[in-house]
Amino acid sequence: MIVLSFFWQGLFGKRAYLRLMEGEEANLRTSPWLYQEKGLLVRRISFPAVLGLEEVRLVRDREGSMVPESHIYLGDLLDLTERRLTLKGPLSFRGANLYQTQDWGYVLEFLLLRPGEPHRRMFYFAQPRRDGTPPFSVQGAFLDTGYKLRIEFYPDMMHRDSWRLRLPGARVTFERNGRRLFSGWVLYSQRVRLGEDGFYFAGISRWTAFVLTADQGEPILYTGFVLTILGGFLLYGAIFWSGEKK
């Protein structure tokens, strides 16, 4: 039964990793990034709900690490339920389980101000170092403008190892066509001029990630475990006690 449960999970199990920023809402019916992570038949998860992330709070666990907990809303557009999701356990909803992961970071919003054009904006999901400390790093292109940004973000420039937002700033490098145009410190709400273009450090929020699973074959696996344990104890337990009576 244990082996069967692995086949079940491979054939029918669904698993997705979702990364959301505060204020973002995902329609899980249609989002293209919902997919079956493991299994023979790659396909979308049909999870009839909307998932929104209100806020990511950071709490210090007793070992001293910062771990995220999320305030989310879940349900249909006209019937949303607010919930708190922590590392302590999943949230079961309409046959699926939603897990809080330990992943979190800051989302940095940059605006491109160009004369005669509407503002264009881009969000960068910056990740902390492996041990969860600053700087929060990210690199990527700015839409289709040809600009590339490399960002190292510090929530508090005065205390570089702090994760608290006090005096946020980042070391930002702008490149275009392989040429470095700017490299230096940019404080939150500051603007960088690159010829006629201007980049404005416009927003900071947090992101976190969730794991969504469904049809993992739990009943088959648990039945397998119970049978194996019972079988083991019946077989060897019987030998253990009966041997003594001889």
């Binding site: 666990d61 104890f233 041997g243």
Partner: protein, 265 residues
Amino acid sequence: MSVLQVEATFSWVMVLLYALSFVGFAAGIFWEKWRRPALLVLVAAFVLHTVLLAWRWYEVAHGPYVTRYEVFSSNAWTIVGLYLLVGWRWRDWLRFGVGPSGAALLFLLLALERYERVPGIPAAYHYFWLAVHIIFTKLALASIFIAVGAALVVLFKGEEGRAREFIFRFTGLALCFWTVAVAAGSVWAHIRWGRFWGWDPIETWSLIVWLGLGTSLHLQKTLGWRGRRAAWLTVFMAFLFVFVLVLLPFFTRTLHTMYLLGGRG
């Protein structure tokens, strides 16, 4: 005086007592008169160990499974505890104490190799199934080292009969406990991360240990492996346990590294 000051001092007293007991039981394989003093010393060490672990538990408000000192020290305690419990019921089995006392000495020395102060508990520890996983892992470890005690008697004294029976029974018990440990770990992983099995090196090797225990039992029962062959098989299985629970975490950085070695790995 805090528990840590007392513990640091008395841990070395325990090392001395476990060492004396081990030497006594080793001599007891050949000269019977050494067994009783060895057993008395082992009981004294166990009582002291129990008091110190209980005191630490009370002071730090969590079980002995967070730091490396706690993990290895409680391994030693479980091995001796299960051995004394079995010996209390079946007195003639107490003569196989060389395995448990030697294993307790080994784990206590490993524990003291990195003595750590009082940490908090990571969020992932707050689960019933994790406690079941840890308890049954330690019980399986204790069972295999009790079987090793009988195996050493077979290997060094050539004794069969009761020792052979003892090897088979405790290997069987180790398999039962290991099965529960793996199942409980799997349930915990599902609750915590949404997956039952992640093929992390420790998980993979724990499957190998489970298959090894089953193979060992079948070789003894159905293919008639007896005496020295069964004894060597048991020693090999004990080595596999030590490899998975002690050596492997030093070479790999996985989730289990933190839990087996304490702290952040």
